[in-house]
């Protein structure tokens, strides 16, 4: 149970890191990296004259703790002695079953093959999903099912000189680690191959959810909707609002945005008459307020209606 919790915590950290990385760039990853692998890594400047060599095999040594290599069946050093025993020619049959859930076998087996170590040994899948690869000499092989549509996890199959067989999880980094799998092999499809990446399509929702657009649209909504919401409230509140608005709008000379835009797009002749332009500007400001008063004019009337209704009910 504890290990599971641990792994979940790990995943959480990873997720967090992912998020951090996405937000802030590489900084955090670098820090993490420093903590973990600082002891054995030398920084190599390109100017150094000697030949650098880093093989994954050497890395491997770091990952393998000596206690881990408990496998007697086949540690990498040992097996070749067994495998290469001369005069003995063991040829065995590797068999198993392949399954694609929800798909009839005859729909996918005609272009699927069983491959051992590339195509050194090839097998075909029977109509019941079973397969066998015959005449396989002793050794260690990676068995995979190659299908252009369905994906299968490869399996490592070890065959000793005596013809004993076992299956284990493929791990190219910790090659000596043994996680046993059942034999005869059970190959289960783990999904379809995804060969394509989706196009970046332009969708309205994407556009609207863009933070920049949200930043623009939300204030706009507030500006448009808030007065209407306020309108329905009581007249005292309204008066207060008006006062505060008046205080905010104390400097009436501040040019209106719409005004500037209109002036910008209007034909140059209006620019010629500077006085007219100025008047228009003032008038525009008036107009806005006039509009507001109109609203005010409409609203009380409506409210009075409500009032009358209330009186009738009383």
């Amino acid at each position: 149970m504890e290990t599971r919790v641990g792994s979940r915590a790990c995943a959480c950290v990873a997720l967090l890191l992912f998020a951090l990385h996405a937000c802030l760039g590489h900084e955090h990853i670098k820090l993490q990296e420093d903590e973990e692998t600082s002891e054995d890594v030398k920084f190599r400047s390109p100017g150094e004259d000697q030949v650098k060599f880093m093989s994954p095999g050497e890395d491997q040594v770091k990952f393998m703790s000596p206690g881990e290599d408990q496998v007697k069946f086949m540690s990498p050093g040992e097996d070749q002695v067994k495998f290469r025993s001369p005069g003995e020619d063991v040829r065995v049959q590797v068999s198993g079953r392949a399954l694609v859930p929800g798909v009839r076998t005859q729909d996918w087996i005609s272009n699927a093959r069983v491959l051992l170590d590339g195509d050194t040994h090839v097998g075909f899948i029977r109509e019941d999903g079973g397969f066998s690869v015959s005449d396989v000499p002793s050794g260690s092989y990676v068995l995979e099912i190659s299908s252009p549509t369905y994906r299968f996890q490869p399996v490592r199959v070890d065959i000793t000189a005596t013809g004993k067989m076992r299956a284990r999880v493929v791990d190219y980094i910790r090659t000596a680690e043994v996680i046993r799998l059942p034999y005869p092999l059970q190959m289960r499809c783990i999904g379809r191959h995804s060969y394509f990446i989706p196009r970046e399509t332009w969708i309205w929702s994407d556009f609207l959810m863009n933070p920049m657009v949200l930043m623009m649209v939300l204030p706009l909504l507030i500006v448009v909707l808030l007065p209407k919401v306020m309108n329905s409230s009581d007249p005292e509140m309204k008066r207060e609002m008006e006062q505060s608005m008046n205080m905010l709008n104390s400097n009436q000379d501040l040019p209106d945005v719409s005004e500037i835009v209109t002036r910008f797009f209007s034909p140059p002749k209006s620019h010629g008459r500077a006085g007219g332009g100025a008047r228009a500007h003032v008038g525009g400001a008036h107009g806005v307020r006039g509009g507001a008063s109109n609203v005010r004019g409409g609203a009380p009337r409506r409210r009075s209606k409500i009032n009358t209704a209330v009186t009738y009910s009383e």
Binding site: A14, V41, P76, Q106, H121, F124, S146, P148, I173, T175
Partner: protein, 964 residues
């Protein structure tokens, strides 16, 4: 934890580097052709007339089902290469097909409609001789397999072995044939050369030997082709020396002598030196064969004979005739015979087998390809029509592996070029300009002759252009009115012309059978083909483009060097790669074995590059060898160097050309053969460009690349194959001076080594025998922070050895081939194309194979966009450039630059051919496919109208205000 972080960082960086195929690009610029190889067995599904199945088994160890109406594949099963996957026999019963594989090792039964395996049985070892279906009481129940020393009987429905019996005296008797007439007995026929025939009779139920007898036959040399069983168990043999036919009833009680019938009595004679062939037919394995048979007396003489009441009577003589075959439909059996009509055509006629009478209106005319080979196999599918008359279709296979499927009265239904299943080498050649374009080009080529003529010429060419444009518009208009399906842009050799971005090219492919193909890279259409006769089967080919299409009006020119592997003698075949026509240029005779070829950048007065051929006496032959060329060679001889590799002696030697076209030895490197052997030597590709001289480091300094154009990569493998002691050696040798620039040894490693040598790097893949995995290793060479001589590279003046960086990675899959992308100017980042045995082509960014990938991320490495080191190389299915269009048995990948810097053309060949384009840095120089024209134009128009309307509104507003 660090592990996770590194992985995370990688997966993030992948998000930006990934270049995958979009789903809507499928089939847009890529195509795949699937092949099967040379057909060894072909069977038609004759059980229903509507059946379209044609089962083939080929020499490429492929078992496939073809659609006989279209020639497409229904399904195909590719077994492993080599003798272990070799298909020995193909038998068919009902819906199932039985295949004997691997010298009689495996017996497989396939369901033929979907191509699923029904059962598979492993047989005992032993060399395969024959297989036959065995019927009992009109039902086919068993299959018998005859080996050199044993016979076994298997159940057809389950594959289980009924019995296996050893053959008597199998060390002296050669058993070759099985026969069963459906009467509960299996006959095994064997013989002792020049002595006697042995007939063993087995009971089907338990394999008990019922009878064994031997009959004198002193003339006997082979059973297989010269003997056949006909008409209720009569063995019939033919012998060329005694010019006689021999018959023997198999079930006769007493071992009698074979009855001799002299061919003279039938007025027949076997051509001298020709081994006569007997062909019989057994339409139903549960019934005895027919009494009629073909006897081939010479390569073009067949005769249909009949055995009746112990007498052999000729039914019909076909002289001359190339091929003859039997076909059965229902109860009737027919014979189809191909006879020559004239030099270019043959006629195929259908005859009734029991009378030899010709069926009326059954003539099919087969036109032979003048550039192809002779027909050598005939497969017939006969069927009865509704009105009880007979109809038939034939498949003709020729020497150049073309399969032609014909229908009455000679319509070619489909054709397959199976030679393309074995492409050896290829080149891509630019297409020529169209006539009008060439006209314009010609204008610049000519010498100026006065102002007015120049103006007139310009005007006339502009007029031609205008005309061409009008014609194009008219065609567009005309096509637009026609329905979509009928407008099919047929690519023909006349309409070929270069497109805007030079994306369409001519693929010149050389196949192992000696057939050359010119294929349009855009559609995969075969535009021309040329069969070169009398090519040895194991020849080595080298294709050289001597002159491209850039030198109008000189035609492009390709030269094919054909070298016999045994004798080393070579010959040259010069042709035009666009039209496939042989050039009439005189070709130098090559009396000595050719060791090396060298294509020089020197051109003759006709703009053809000069090809040097070095023979085993180190004499050099130049082609073309005009005076002009020889003069140029004399001038530049001191700077022409070449190298020779002798892998049997482990010797690499460098030579320099002398003025008189002899050579002098300059250097020699000997790699002792008792320790390691040279596997491969590769220089860099001549047409590759390197755009940047160095790499900008994180601290803004520049690390200059070591760009030695003369560098050779030599790969060796240890002769000791023991797991602990085997190694792979890598030598980087300067081809001019012989100096070993770098040497590396990969311990506990073995081949096969795949490698790419390009720019300043070498990437190689080997098998790590300790950890049993494939590993990639990359070597990069740098000059350092400053260039020694920035203007020109000279191998002779390089005092400082380069700095070499190396890193290795685990590659979690086997590899079948490796190649790198190539673009016009080398600005685009490089990708490695990795062919996987599963048939996918992985496009791996070179970024992952960078020896400067840090183990620890630093400020500087981030600046340089270096991915942190991770031992395991990622494989993502999104990087498979051929998505689900897998290419079986990838043999080579050919990359060619296109006119667009972002685009690299890729051709993958093996059993199949796949052509596509890759964009390693995405399409930065053209608008994307999904460029949203609608959005852009709607936004533009929207803005335009919005300004118009707002302008109007503003005016109204102004006016209103003025009135107030």
């Amino acid at each position: 934890m660090a592990w996770l972080v590194v992985r995370l960082a990688i997966s993030l960086s992948l998000l930006y580097t990934a270049s995958a195929v979009f789903e809507d690009q499928v089939g847009k610029f890529d195509w795949r052709e699937q092949f099967v190889g040379k057909v060894r067995f072909a069977l038609f599904d004759t059980h229903s007339q509507a059946s379209k199945k044609l089962l083939v088994a080929t020499d490429k160890n492929v078992f496939a089902s073809l659609n006989s109406r279209t020639g497409d594949l229904f399904w195909r099963h590719v077994d492993k290469t080599g003798p272990e996957g070799h298909i020995d026999a193909l038998l068919m019963y009902g819906q199932d097909a039985v295949v004997v594989v691997g010298n009689g090792r495996l017996l497989r039964s396939w369901e033929t409609t979907v191509g699923g395996l029904k059962w598979e049985a492993v047989l005992d070892t032993g060399s395969f001789q024959a297989a036959a279906l065995i019927g009992v009481q009109d039902f086919v129940k068993y299959v018998a397999v005859l080996k050199k020393s044993a016979i076994s009987l298997h159940d057809l429905s389950s594959g289980s072995q009924i019995w296996v019996e050893n053959l008597p005296d199998s060390d002296t008797v050669q058993y070759q044939t099985i026969y069963s007439g459906g009467n509960g007995l299996v006959f095994v026929l064997g013989f002792v050369p020049s002595s006697h025939i042995v007939i063993v009779e087995y009971k089907i139920e338990d394999g008990e030997i019922m009878k064994k007898k031997s009959v004198e036959a002193a003339w006997m040399s082979s059973l297989e082709n010269s003997c056949a069983v006909i008409s209720s168990g009569n063995l019939l043999c033919v012998d060329q020396i005694t010019q006689s036919l021999y018959t023997l009833p198999l079930q006769s009680a007493e071992p009698t002598e074979m009855r001799t019938i002299h061919l003279q009595t039938l007025d027949l004679e076997v051509a001298s030196g020709f081994q006569p062939v007997l062909t019989s037919t057994q339409p139903n394995p549960a019934q005895p064969p027919l009494a009629e048979f073909f006897l081939q007396l010479s390569p073009d003489h067949h005769i249909l004979l009949q055995l009746k009441d112990d007498l052999i009577a000729p039914l019909r003589d076909f002289n001359p005739s190339y091929l003859a075959a039997f076909a059965t439909s229902g109860e009737k059996t027919f014979a189809a015979v191909m006879t020559p009509k004239n030099d270019t055509a043959c006629t195929i006629n259908l005859f009734s087998a029991d009378t030899g009478r010709r069926h009326l209106d059954t003539t099919i005319i087969y036109h032979m390809d003048p550039n192809g080979g002779k027909p050598n196999r005939l497969y017939v599918h006969a069927f009865l029509k509704k009105d009880d008359s007979v109809g038939y279709r034939v498949m003709v296979q020729t020497e150049d592996l073309t399969l032609t499927f014909l229908q009455q009265p000679g319509r070619v239904v489909w054709m397959r070029e199976e030679a393309l299943a074995d492409v050896v080498t290829m080149e891509m050649v630019d297409l020529p300009l169209t006539g009008t374009q060439a006209e314009l080009e010609g204008e610049f080529g000519k010498k100026a002759d006065g102002l007015l003529p120049m103006v007139l010429k310009r005007l006339s060419s502009q007029f031609i252009l205008l005309q061409a444009w009008m014609a194009h518009l008219w065609k567009l208009f005309y096509d637009a009115r026609k329905p979509r399906s009928s407008v099919k842009n047929e690519v023909t050799i006349d309409t070929l012309s270069r497109d805007e971005f030079n994306l369409q090219k001519m693929m010149v492919m050389v196949t192992a059978s000696g057939k050359l193909f010119g294929i349009d890279s855009k559609s995969g259409t075969v535009l021309w083909k040329q069969y070169l006769e009398d090519i040895q089967p194991n020849s080595i080919f080298k294709l050289i483009v001597q002159r491209t299409t850039a030198h109008f009006p000189h035609p492009p020119q390709c030269t094919l060097l054909i070298k016999n592997q045994d004798t080393g003698l070579g010959s040259l075949y010069v042709f035009n790669p666009i039209f496939g026509k042989k050039s009439h240029i005189s070709v130098p005779a090559l009396p000595r074995p050719v060791l090396q070829t060298l294509l020089l950048p020197v051109i003759d007065q006709d703009y053809a590059k000069v090809l040097l051929l070095i023979d085993d006496q180190y004499k050099v032959t130049a082609f073309p060898s005009t005076k002009n060329v020889l003069q140029q060679l004399q001038d530049t001889a001191s700077s022409i160097f070449f190298y020779l590799v002798d892998s049997s002696q482990g010797k690499l030697s460098g030579f320099r050309l002398r003025m008189d076209l002899s050579t002098e030895l300059i250097w020699e490197v000997v790699i002792p053969t008792e320790v390691q052997k040279i596997v491969a030597v590769k220089g860099k590709r001549a047409n590759e460009h390197v755009h940047s001289q160095g790499r900008v480091m994180g601290d803004r300094s520049v690390l200059y690349k070591y760009l030695n154009p003369n560098l050779l990569a030599v790969i060796t493998e240890s002769t000791d194959i023991h797991q602990e002691r085997s190694f792979v050696g890598i030598f980087l040798i300067d081809g001019v001076t012989g100096r070993i620039v770098h040497e590396a040894v990969q311990r506990k490693a073995r081949g096969p080594v795949h490698f790419v040598h390009s720019e300043n790097w070498l990437v190689y893949v080997y098998w790590n025998s300790k950890f049993r995995r494939n590993e990639f290793s990359v070597l990069e060479l740098f000059e350092g922070a400053e260039l020694y001589n920035s203007t020109v590279f000279s191998s002779l003046d390089r005092p400082h050895p380069p700095q070499v960086l190396q890193q290795s990675y685990i590659f979690p899959a086997p590899i079948s081939t490796l190649e790198a992308t190539l673009t016009e100017k080398g600005i685009t980042s490089r990708h490695l194309l990795v062919g996987l045995p599963s048939g996918n082509i992985l496009s791996l960014p070179k970024m992952f194979l960078d020896p400067r990938r840090p183990e620890m991320i630093s400020e500087q490495s981030r600046e340089e966009n270096l991915i942190p080191y991770a031992p395991e190389m990622p494989i993502r299915t999104e990087w498979f450039i051929n998505y689900n269009q897998t290419v079986s048995r990838v043999r080579g990948i050919y990359t060619a630059p296109s006119g667009l810097e972002s685009t690299c053309l890729v051709v993958v060949y093996g059993l199949d051919i796949y052509q596509t384009r890759v964009f390693p840095s995405k399409q930065f120089d053209v608008l994307k496919d999904d460029y949203d024209y609608v959005l852009i134009s709607s936004v533009l128009f929207g803005l335009f109208f919005a300004t118009m309307i707002s302008k109007r509104l503003a005016e109204v507003k102004l006016l209103n205000r003025a009135w107030r």
